[in-house]
Each structure stands twice: as C-alpha cells, then as structure tokens.
Symmetry: C2
Subunit: 197 residues, 2 copies
C-alpha cells in the first residue's frame, strides 16, 4: 500500500530524526538502512513506506532544512533595498547558515550533487528559487546603477555562490572553525571593490 503523503506519522518523523543524527557523524554512503531503522526504533521496511529510497530520504531531510534557510534569508533581505547591501546579507547569511547547520551544508555541498535524480527533487527546486532571488537582486543593481554596467549578472552570481560554497568546504570537511564576519566581509570586499591595486 502506497502512502499518499498527507499526514506525518511518528514513524516518519523518527526515521528522519535518526537519519539526520547519523548524517552528523558519518557520510551518506556509510549509513545503512538497518542502522537508520534501529536508531529510529522502527523496522527497515517502514523507511520504504515513507521514502522511495535512501536517496529520497536524503533529499527530504535536505528540503526540510532548506525551507528554514530560505525563509530566514528572505526576511533579512526584505529589510534592505540597497542591492549591494542585500548581496552582502546573502553572503553573510549563507555563511552563517552553513556554519551553524552542518548537516544541511554537508548534504547540500557534498552529498547530493553526484546523483542526477537530485535535480528532479523538491530540494533542488528550492535551490533554484534561492538562486533566482540572487539574480534578481543583481539585475536590479545593474538597472539602478549600483553595479558596473559591464558586469554579466550570471557570472557575478557564479562568483558569489562559488565563493560562499568554497569558503564553507574546509569547515564542513575538516571541522575547521570559520570566522564568518571576517570571511564574509573579505569576500564582499573582493567581489565589490576588486583585488587589483
């Protein structure tokens, strides 16, 4: 019998909690379904009542975290209407979110990209939305003359997103502590003012 996805029964919640906990300790591939079930105190079969497969569980956990991330950032952006300030908020808030939500960033930056079916998932849809928001801000910045007219908005977005993601990798992989203030102002300084003397 297939589940229709309307309710949110205790078993389902326990499975997601158990999986999140395990993701904090080890990488996706070395987590077994037996382990997930045992820690959740349910049987293995139940996982497949609520999730298509192990990857689907991963995507849904990511999605849950992403919703929080998105709403937090959007409310912060809304308070500003200077575009450069808004982009600075994005840089800072993204770094902050990645830093104090290791599971979220681990999944997003290390675990999901290698499989094509991620890009059909709801979690990926959220990323696109976030990404689109950034592009809108950049375009507005160009129109209002806050940004140089010869800037390609798509490339600027790549630079910003790439810098953010790369900055978090060391922290996620090696557990290095990241100085968010220093790194975010550093990135913003380079991206907006340039590095050339």
């Amino acid at each position: 019998m297939k589940h229709k996805g309307k309710t949110n029964p205790p078993g389902r919640i326990k499975i997601m909690k158990s999986f999140s906990l395990l993701m904090a300790q080890k990488d996706f591939h070395s987590i077994t379904t037996a382990e997930i079930a045992k820690n959740a105190q349910v049987t293995e079969g139940l996982i497949y009542k609520y999730f298509k497969d192990k990857k689907d569980l991963l995507y849904q956990v990511l999605n849950k975290h992403f919703v929080e991330f998105q709403t937090k950032i959007e409310s912060r952006i809304a308070k500003e209407n200077n575009c450069i300030k808004q982009l600075e908020i994005i840089i800072f808030s993204s770094l902050e979110s990645y830093a104090d939500n290791r599971i979220f960033s681990k999944i997003l930056l290390l675990e999901v990209r290698n499989s094509l079916d991620f890009f059909d998932s709801g979690a990926y849809e959220m990323i696109r939305k976030y990404s689109r928001t950034i592009l809108e801000i950049i375009k507005k910045g160009l129109k209002e003359g806050e940004l140089k007219s010869d800037i390609d908005p798509l490339i600027l977005r790549k630079v910003i997103l790439g810098a953010i993601e790369h900055a978090c990798l060391g922290e996620i992989i090696f557990g290095r502590k990241l100085d968010i203030d220093k790194v975010s102002t550093g990135i913003a300084n380079i991206v907006f003012n340039g590095a050339k003397a």
Copy 2:
C-alpha cells in the same frame, strides 16, 4: 599476494580505461565492479589486485588526469611573471581543462568530496599543491603591490577557486556548453576590478 605497484600490466590499464569510460556515462555509485570488469575483459577479482577498493580506483584515475592538468598549467604560468596575468591564466586554464576533460572534472567536483578517505589520497595531495601555487602567486602579488594591501590571500584564493568550480558545475551536470573566454574574462573582471560602480 599484494601488488607492489612498480609495473603497469595490461589488466591494470584496461581496468582504468574501462572505468573512465563508464564514468563518462553515469555516476560513480551506479557503476558496478562487475560492469567494470566485463568492459575491461578481465575478471572482477583482478580489480582488487591493483586497487584497494572501488574508491581507490576512482582516486587513481583522478590522479592520472590531475598530473596532466597540473603540468599543463604550470608550464603556462611560467611564461608570465605579472601576478594578475598569472591568476588570469589559472582561471582560464582551469576552466579549459574542466571543459575538455569532463571525466576529470566530474570526479573532482562531484564524486570524491563526500568521502573522508579521499583526503588521504595522492590525488588530494595534488590539489593541495595546485592550491598552494595559487596562494604563492597571490602573496607575490601583494608584496609587489599588484594587489590591494587589504586583501586576505586565503580569501582571494577561495573566491577564485570557488568561482571556477561553480562555473563548471552547470556544464558538468547538465552538459551545458560553457563559453570559456567569456566566463574567464568575466570572472577576472569581477575579481580584479570589482562589481561596484
């Protein structure tokens, strides 16, 4: 009997070739050892004569590609001694290498990061060397006054590497064609001259 790794027998070469070919078609996890062996026309057991496990095979294939990448870039850099020019060469050459060696970039940007034992591999040692080279150039640029004195070299490196990697993701994942000239000059323009009007 353990292999000492001195010679390079035909079976070993066939396995690596077969695996490379499969990596061009699908992701690491959905490639089976049976498949690798069949396409290489050897038995499955032989894989484990030359490689510790499936991941080790991945790392060694990556390593092979990385050596070519590294030597190519270093010879290009040697021809310049203006630091900004050198960094521009790095941006351009990296994009170019990623673009015309999809397997290499797929492995490097999507497949290896999620497992901790990659960071003990020889392939990761190469990355560190490459990364160190970039840092040296930046430091030289600071000393010789080509770069602004308030720039943090580690952060500038993060921005450059992040931008390069992010720029390639779309191409690798979705097979989108990348305009290397446009993107590399675009990135360099932002990083060196800044985006603010």
